[in-house]
């Protein structure tokens, strides 16, 4: 049933073979073919720009006021590429292998290898666009190391790599807009896909300024609408990030792959109160120098600096001596949760651990004093110089921490706690990034494809740009080559009329409930269920409860929702109501998926499946497959399995001890 369309041949030849044999569309025909792109983050903007350059007629949509605001912009750390500029033994194969292993052997080998192959082109392309990556004094590109790898392959632009990459893609996109190849629709939200004769032929969008519904035809539709971490209400995602686009596609026949695979990032600023609307990430790079600890005494209320050294539990160093504070994200997150649950948490909420820079400040201070020729420096001198070094490396992050918490992290250890950050799951796609609906594609975080059960740091940017710049321009041709005889379908076609009618009715239904509770309050409650029962640790009982609770909440939503304002105007409340309605359906599917996958792998930790020491235990015999869910109606999904075959990277149990 599920055909992943992986080309034949040895792993490292598949992509080359594919490119050499896929169908092409000649330039004259490209001008006749229309492509719709939903979302203008790294994947969407790069795809729209590249397809526009090729000559396709592209329409791009984003819900923000400008394509430059997509949430890719918030990525901090960097982007991986197998350039081996550092001569430290990196290669395409190593990047491939690290990604497969980091994903706990739940990703497709062929896709990941292609990702590693094109990673080098991405860096070339971005530099040519003027992305100001960090450089060495010799004028060449600088690299840094990131979690889960032993080589330095991460390219970066201070703590704003996502921003710089997105601006590069945005500029390429705006260039195509200026040339007339791409038509940009900002402040537009996609509310349904239109399927005609089994193929995706367009979308229904709402103009968020006027409230009007619009019909747009396309020979193919690309969904690059990002991840759905906001189902947890509190996450590091932007406020507007949502599942709506891919969820509508899912309801129209696109299978949803591994929905429960969620990445919880270990270093985020903890929740400060009920008013909290979102969480802020502190770059993973902080774990390079910071030490993570909690008091050895339960419920210790002393100030951190009053707790003597021998009463501190550096639990990551204790549990994982080999990797220490640099264990992968999923492991670090679970360890923090374990300590807090056991009653050792710190801060007023008791849901936080310390990330301490005191030792790093002293260490750097001593080196610096040495460099400066200060013999027998005083403690104060050491501190002063140490702080200078830390400031240079992490100054912007420390400033951000201070703005949010009002505490000075140079004086007091930072309080951190894990938070939802990324969703590895997404629409199921084949090798060509096509979903189970012909002509409907999913790119970037919106698809499930490359990260398995856990994503490595600095790989999200890589995947988004790989899909948009270097994969889709080839694979879409293979489909569109057969569409050159399809004349543009009038948007008066019954399928368009029907789809628009359904969207309109749903909006009217949302508006007509006139109950008492706001979309925000439902979202909060859903988030709490998800976080408590489908978060960092999951068990069968909790998940079953969650499913019932979500069903009840959904019922309540559709009977007691209050949406302020009117339909035909700028109405963010209505936008939000629609998104929450979709999250309420997605949440259930995530729990169902988490319940069915009775193993622990990557970010998915089932309490029933752990080793004696409390580590995650994978079950390759029973669960070495992609779970692709087909929507069959309310609360009704059918599971399809795509078996995963590892020909090159043979699965082993991950150990960081």
């Amino acid at each position: 049933m599920l055909d992943s369309k992986i080309p034949a041949g040895p792993l490292d030849q598949k992509w080359t073979y594919y490119k050499g044999h896929c169908k092409l569309v000649n330039p004259a025909n490209k001008r006749k073919l229309e492509v719709i792109v939903i979302g203008t983050g790294l994947a969407g903007a790069s795809a729209a720009a590249s397809l526009g350059e090729l000559g396709y007629r592209v329409k791009a949509f984003c819900f923000q006021d400008s394509p430059r605001r997509a949430h890719s912009i918030a990525a901090q750390g960097g982007i991986n590429a197998a350039k081996n500029y550092q001569n430290d033994g990196d290669s395409v194969f190593r990047l491939f292998y690290d990604t497969i292993k980091g994903g706990d052997y739940r990703a497709r080998e062929a896709n990941v290898h292609r990702l590693a192959e094109v990673s080098v082109n991405i860096i070339d392309q971005c530099v040519a666009q003027g992305v100001p990556f960090a450089r060495e004094y010799g004028g060449l590109l600088s690299n840094r190391s990131f979690g889960g790898t032993q080589v330095q392959r991460t390219f970066y632009a201070a703590g704003q790599t996502g921003q710089q990459l997105l601006i590069g893609a945005y500029q390429a996109l705006e260039r195509q807009v200026a040339l007339g190849n791409v038509k940009m629709y900002a402040r537009h939200e996609m509310l349904d896909v239109v399927i005609i004769d089994g193929k995706c032929r367009g979308v229904i969008c709402r103009n968020l300024v006027t409230g009007e519904l619009e019909r747009h035809f396309g020979h193919a539709v690309l969904l690059a609408s990002g991840g759905y971490g906001n189902v947890f209400y509190l996450s590091t995602n932007a406020m507007g990030s949502n599942v709506t686009a891919i969820w509508k596609a899912h309801r129209k026949g696109a299978f949803f792959g591994n929905p429960c695979f969620t990445q919880i990032h270990p270093t985020c600023i903890p929740v400060s109160g009920d008013h909290q609307s979102k969480l802020t990430l502190m770059s993973e790079s902080l774990r390079n120098d910071g030490r993570i600890w909690v008091p050895k005494k339960k419920g210790d209320t002393r100030k951190p600096n009053d707790i003597p050294e021998d009463e501190r539990d550096y639990y990551l160093e204790r549990r994982y001596p080999a990797f220490g504070n640099l264990v992968p994200r999923d492991v670090a997150s679970r360890a923090a949760k374990e300590r807090c649950d056991a009653g050792y948490g710190v801060g007023s909420s008791r849901q936080a651990v310390y990330l301490d820079y005191a030792a790093a400040i002293v260490r750097y201070g001593k080196i610096e004093c040495n460099k400066l020729g200060i013999t027998n420096p005083t403690d104060e001198q050491v501190r002063k110089h140490g702080i200078e070094v830390v400031k240079e490396k992490y100054g912007n992050l420390f400033d951000m921490y201070e703005k949010i918490t009002g505490e000075n992290p140079y004086e007091v250890p930072m309080r951190i706690y894990p938070a939802v950050h990324y969703t590895m799951g997404g629409l199921w796609v084949d090798y060509e990034l096509m979903t189970t609906v012909p002509g409907l594609y999913a790119l970037g975080e919106a698809n499930f494809s490359d990260h398995g059960a856990n994503r490595l740091g600095a790989s999200a940017l890589m995947q988004g740009l790989a899909d948009g710049y270097f994969v889709i321009p080839y694979t879409i041709g293979n489909y569109l080559a057969d569409e050159i005889r399809t004349a543009p379908i009038s948007t008066d076609h019954p399928a368009f009329v029907e789809a628009e009618k359904n969207v309109r009715e749903r909006i009217e239904k949302l508006m007509s409930i006139k109950g008492n509770q706001t979309p925000e309050s439902f979202h909060k409650r859903l988030g709490k269920i998800m976080w408590d029962k489908c978060g960092m640790a999951r068990n069968a009982e909790g998940l079953k409860q969650a499913i019932t609770e979500i069903q009840q909440l959904r019922k309540e939503f559709w009977s007691d929702l209050r949406v302020a304002g009117n339909v035909n105007e700028f109405n963010p409340e209505l936008d939000k109501a629609g998104r929450v309605a979709d999250f309420l359906e997605l949440g259930e599917l995530m729990c169902i998926d988490a319940l069915h996958r009775n193993e622990s792998c990557g970010g998915h930790f089932r309490e029933e499946s752990q080793t004696e020491e409390g580590e995650a235990k994978r079950d390759d015999a029973n669960y070495s497959y992609v779970a692709a869910w087909e929507f069959k109606g309310e609360s009704n999904w059918e599971l399809h399995k795509e078996p995963l075959n590892f020909e090159v990277a043979k699965p082993t149990q991950r150990s960081y001890k």
Binding site: S66, I73, E569
Partner: protein, 255 residues
């Protein structure tokens, strides 16, 4: 940091749509925590307004971590509020004290028409970029990333300019509603890199022409923009833009 709660008087600009004249509305806010962000205080207000059957205040926001550039509130006479090098989404309530009155207005400039309440239309910025704020390199045309070394100092300066988030605070603060800091950030970013060289002249001339068409004012170096810029983009970029313009205008071959 001591936590405290406060009562505030909030005066917010309300405007139903572009055609509406608009007016200020006053709201009394009770028990606001010093830990809240400024926008979370607006969330609280909006939840209350909805419960009271009133229209919530519309405002642009998305990432809430100071990088997407969506948020745009003019708080007590300053874009993004009282903190330096900050966006309003990162402003926290401990910047205020019990009994304060806070006046919140949208960005004001003819080139940024109000859409609703505090939401303005900044698409003029996109059109300025369309006029030339890019390097014309098609996907797949690139040489190896290390083929052209770039002087570190210049790469750093280009990055500092490219850090612009396009929020429009510079325009909002400028007495001339000039977009020169925004424009200069992009022109500098690309002019400082060897990759930007081939289009250097046409870029600056076309972008300036587009800026004029959009109805922004001229730069008179009041430096107000730099003072409110959340990313601390330097006005020396504007000088660089002027140089680029002068050189391009004097030497461009095409009439």
């Amino acid at each position: 940091m001591e936590h405290y709660t406060m009562n505030l008087t909030l005066k917010v600009w309300r405007q139903k749509n572009a055609a509406d004249k608009g007016h200020f509305e006053t709201y009394e806010m009770k028990d606001i925590s010093s830990e809240m962000s400024f926008l979370e205080m607006f969330d609280v207000l909006n939840e209350r307004l909805i419960r009271e059957g009133k229209d919530p205040v519309a405002f642009d926001h998305d990432c809430r971590e100071g990088i997407c550039g969506s948020c745009s509130m003019y708080v007590n006479g300053r874009p993004h509020g009282p903190w330096k090098a900050n966006t309003v989404c990162q402003l926290h309530m401990r910047a205020f004290k019990d009994g304060d009155t806070i006046v919140v207005e949208p960005w004001r400039a003819n080139a940024f028409p109000v859409i609703k309440d505090l939401v303005v239309d900044r698409s003029a910025f996109d059109r300025i970029i369309q006029a030339g704020g890019y390097i014309s390199v098609n996907t797949g045309n690139a040489v190896d990333a290390n083929a052209i070394p770039v002087e570190k100092e210049k790469a750093d300066a280009a990055f500092a300019a490219a850090a612009c988030i396009g929020c429009g605070a510079c325009v909002a603060a400028c007495k001339n509603s000039s977009a020169m800091l925004f424009l200069a950030a992009k022109v500098s970013h690309l002019a400082l890199l060897p990759q930007g060289e081939p289009e250097r002249k046409t870029r600056v001339l076309n972008m300036v022409a587009q800026m004029d068409k959009e109805g922004f004012g001229s730069c008179t170096f009041t430096e107000q923009c730099e003072a409110v810029c959340p990313k601390q983009i330097s006005v020396s970029n504007i000088s660089r833009l002027n140089k680029e313009y002068l050189m391009a205008g004097l030497t461009a071959e095409k009439k």
